[in-house]
């Protein structure tokens, strides 16, 4: 039996996510109350810290940039019927690619040549790291969820190995590479502003945000406008129909995962070239997994992903401020709040849908 009432679009993509977010904040507020803080105060500090100053806003947008990349990566794979949990590893490899090229050529090339080269390296390394599990899935039948998880560990191991044995400058005790040359560093917003004669407080926000927005446009075009995207979506939702239509499913799996991995690899540009200026351990810090929540919340659509990334960016930045400002309000508390949002807006996103359907039907019937 089909569902007699369907939610109109404006409720489905407008009201429902706001409602879910409100429930998540309410529950988070209750938890804050239970441990003896004022939820109102926590929320004020959080929003103030994330949005109240140009510097805070810069941080929020910098976090959002990373989430856009990992969120898009998950979305592209999902449209091909694949669950890419390997964003973490692909992002790590993106950073490794950036570092290798930057350390190898950085001193010899000007930024105009260097920066595009780094973008290509980040994407290529991420692609490679996603293409291997894709090949194993399409041609060898290994499940991509399992292989991508394993490749996260392999990526972390590879990064550690490279840093400890090859990239660490002689005599250095810390596990990180040498600093990149200036030409291999993605310009930060405050630097660009300074060059134009404006003064902005320093923040990690850099040109990668522009690349992320371009990536959104590309993903939207690829999935819904391009011929390749048509084939990818056909394979993702009806593999037998796709085969019938002369589309080779294996090639589409490889293509979708390569693009997915390439997007995740771009985290390396934002973090390594844009902020750190050197390769470090664990610089992805869970952003690959957050990308799953971002994509879920954004309904696997670039516009939704930008909005969800902004939300998570604000939460990350605001969360840091809250744990600084409020005595006894630990970092873990902020993680709990983030977890609740993932739970209500991602995993349980459609739980309230029947309720809205009923209310909508009742209102409409009453008219």
């Amino acid at each position: 039996m089909s569902q007699p009432t369907q939610l109109p679009r404006w409720i489905d993509i407008g009201v429902l996510p706001v409602w879910n977010l409100a429930i998540a904040l309410l529950v988070a507020g209750l938890v804050v109350m239970v441990i003896g803080h004022s939820p109102w105060q926590a929320l004020t500090v959080l929003l103030n810290g994330a949005l109240g100053s140009v510097r805070g806003l810069g941080y929020s947008l910098y976090y959002a940039t990373t989430f856009i990349f990992t969120g898009l990566a998950v979305a592209v794979a999902i449209h091909a019927g694949l669950f890419n949990i390997g964003g973490e590893g692909q992002a790590t490899l993106g950073g490794v690619g950036v570092a290798l090229v930057a350390l190898w050529l950085g001193a010899k090339l000007p930024a105009v040549v260097m920066l595009p080269l780094l973008v290509i390296a980040a994407a290529a390394f991420g692609m490679l790291w996603a293409a291997l599990p894709a090949y194993l899935q399409a041609w060898r039948g290994s499940h991509i969820v399992i292989t991508t998880i394993m490749f996260n560990f392999l990526a972390a191991g590879l990064n550690g190995y490279l840093l400890v044995n090859w990239l660490r400058p002689a005599g250095s005790m810390s596990v990180e590479s040498a600093e990149f040359a200036e030409s291999a560093r993605m310009p930060a917003l405050h630097q660009i502003a300074a060059a134009l004669g404006y003064e902005l407080p320093s923040s990690p926000l850099n040109l990668s945000l522009v690349i992320a927005l371009v990536a959104c446009v590309f993903v939207g075009w690829f999935l819904w406008k391009s011929a390749a995207g048509y084939a990818v979506r056909a394979v993702g939702s009806a593999p037998r129909a796709a085969h019938y239509a002369g589309i080779r499913p294996r090639a589409q799996v490889l293509l979708a995962m390569a693009i997915s991995g390439g997007l995740a690899g771009m985290v390396g540009i934002n973090e390594i070239s844009g902020v750190q200026g050197k390769l470090t351990l664990d610089f992805v810090a869970g952003a690959g997994f957050t990308g799953i929540a971002v994509s879920l919340m954004g309904r696997n659509h670039p516009v939704g992903i930008v909005l969800a990334s902004l939300l998570f960016g604000v939460l990350y930045q605001g969360g840091v401020e809250v744990s600084f400002e409020l005595q006894g309000f630990s970092r873990e508390m902020v993680v709990t709040a983030q977890g609740l949002i993932v739970l209500f807006s991602g995993a349980m996103a459609t739980v309230s849908a029947p309720l809205f359907a009923k209310v909508y039907a009742a209102l409409k019937g009453g008219r």
């Binding site: 039996m1 406008k225 391009s226 048509y230 129909a241 019938y244 002369g246």
Partner: protein, 511 residues
């Protein structure tokens, strides 16, 4: 007259803009088999869903055995002795038959005791009704016919005295259908009231004691079976005269050979042969029908000829191109060679259900230059083409933006046919073109296939409906156990000869 088992009075139901039922009234006599027929979307399923408590009528009343009742949900319907056997079975594949029957009626925390009780009751019930089911077999391992018996048994076990059967024969082989009818007659003798929803008028004529025809949400008429004929039913359903048989003067004008397959062989994954030395020739301007009980290699033959699957042995000549198992025809090569295919499974293969109609309408032709703009798809051209297809093939509703899954079966099939015929194929492979499709659409689809043949296309028609093959084909090949057991010109075909060939008794048919 005695109290009717069910009396429906002025039932109306509206979904948004659609009036699914309008003032529907009729009686179903106790102990009768009552047929309910009508085209897709006529409101039969909605009406039965109201009777079974899934939906609530906006107005009107229901009497069961003379008592006015309010049926709020299916538990209450079951309590009133109403049972329903759905077209798509409601069974848990990994459980045994016994466990499936107990599901929802476990009666206690520990299963062992209640299992024994249920088993004893079922054994008696099976003896009384002749519904034989292997109680300890896992559902996933059983054939469709047995699953249907299980569904009926499940409803009877829950005390059903009024049984609704929704398209019970749609998925059955002819033998299983015969078996089902024996069972249904037996149930009728025991006093069970049966409500039969079906598209197959011959079944209605042979089984029902009265028939209600619905059209556009309303009852057209209810009459005892003696006052109906197949033609009258069809006309009443569609609202105009319908001709489904073979038109007079269909001449055979076969031209040059378009497709020649020789010695095709294929094995299932478990090693059982699916095709054994199958050879077949298709000529321009003829329809070759493939008859046979489903599951005798017809599906595999279509898969191999369309490039979905490579055989282990044999050869295929398609126009001037020839293929051998090592380098078999690929689905991406088929359409450029002007080989089109209307697949048996329109839901999983023929359409991408999550796509809007205008994306599904170019499936397989997505690389044609007219649908492309460089690396992008040309959405405007795709949408325009879809509108044209919908217009030409009378696909309803005429909405190119509607989801592929939102169309009725007949309209989905018309869209697929429009797509596959649209590029003027020289060879068309068609599998079960009218399965689950209503009469008006069948007439239309048959007309299109004949027109295509007259235009010189070579058509291979696989159908489990003998009537369909007799109405369309110029030549009939019969398959049994993966082998072609006979080939007859249409003049020599009659149901008896074909039936014998389908059962692989070649010698007797030849004699």
């Amino acid at each position: 007259m005695s109290t009717p088992a069910v009396r429906l009075q002025a039932i109306s139901k509206r979904f948004g803009a659609v009036q699914a039922n309008r003032e529907v009234s009729f009686d179903i006599a106790a102990g009768s088999v009552h047929g309910l027929v009508g085209e897709n979307g006529a409101g039969k399923s909605t009406l039965m869903a109201i009777l079974y408590g899934y939906y609530h009528a906006d107005s009107g009343s229901i009497e069961v055995n003379g008592q006015q009742v309010h049926i709020a949900n299916s538990q209450q319907a079951i309590g009133l002795g109403i049972g329903m056997v759905h077209q798509h079975f409601m069974l848990v594949e990994t459980l045994t038959c016994l466990e499936n029957i107990m599901l929802g009626a476990e009666g206690g925390f520990f299963l062992t005791a209640s299992k024994a009780k249920v088993r004893a009751k079922l054994v008696t019930l099976m003896q009384e009704t002749g519904l034989q089911v292997q109680l300890d077999a896992v559902v996933a391992d059983l054939p469709v016919g047995e699953l249907q018996r299980l569904e009926i048994l499940k409803a009877l076990y829950r005390g059903a005295r009024i049984l609704i059967l929704d398209e019970p024969t749609a998925v059955l082989t002819p033998q299983e259908t015969d078996q089902l009818f024996i069972t249904l007659r037996r149930l009728k003798e025991r006093g069970t009231t049966l409500i039969l929803i079906t598209h197959k008028l011959r079944e209605v004529m042979s089984l029902c004691s009265a028939v209600t025809v619905m059209r556009a949400g309303q009852v057209v008429e209810t009459r005892p079976i003696a006052e109906w004929s197949e033609e009258a039913l069809a006309e009443s359903m569609v609202g105009r005269k319908v001709t489904l048989g073979r038109p007079e003067g269909m001449e055979v004008n076969a031209g040059e050979v378009r497709l020649q397959a020789s010695g095709l062989s294929l094995k299932h994954a478990n090693g059982v042969p699916a095709l054994k030395d199958v050879s077949l020739t298709l000529k321009a301007g003829e329809i070759v029908g493939v008859a046979g009980v489903s599951g005798n290699g017809q599906s595999e033959l279509l898969e191999v000829l369309s490039g979905l699957r490579a055989p282990e042995g044999g050869r295929l000549q398609l126009g001037s191109a020839s293929f051998t198992p090592g380098a078999w025809l690929d689905t991406s090569q088929a359409r450029p060679l002007r080989l089109a295919h209307v697949p048996e499974d329109r839901h999983a293969v023929g359409l991408v259900m999550s796509f809007p109609a205008w994306e599904s309408a170019v499936l397989g032709y997505q690389n044609l230059p007219k649908y492309r703009k460089g690396a992008s798809m040309n959405h405007a051209a795709m949408q325009a083409a879809t509108r044209q297809m919908q217009e030409r093939f009378d696909v309803r509703p005429r909405d190119e933006n509607l989801g592929s899954s939102k169309f009725s079966g007949g309209n989905q099939q018309k869209l697929i046919l429009a797509r596959e015929i649209g590029e003027q194929p020289t060879v068309l492979l068609v599998g079960q073109p009218t399965r689950g499709v209503d009469i008006g659409a069948i007439e239309f689809i048959h007309g299109q296939l004949r027109a295509l043949r007259d235009a010189g296309c070579a058509v291979l028609l696989v159908s489990s409906e003998l009537d369909e093959i007799l109405a369309l084909a110029d030549r009939v090949v019969v398959m049994n156990c993966g082998r072609i057991t006979g080939e007859l010109a249409i003049e020599d075909c009659d149901e008896k000869r074909l039936g014998l060939l389908m059962a692989a008794q070649e010698e007797r048919a030849a004699a």
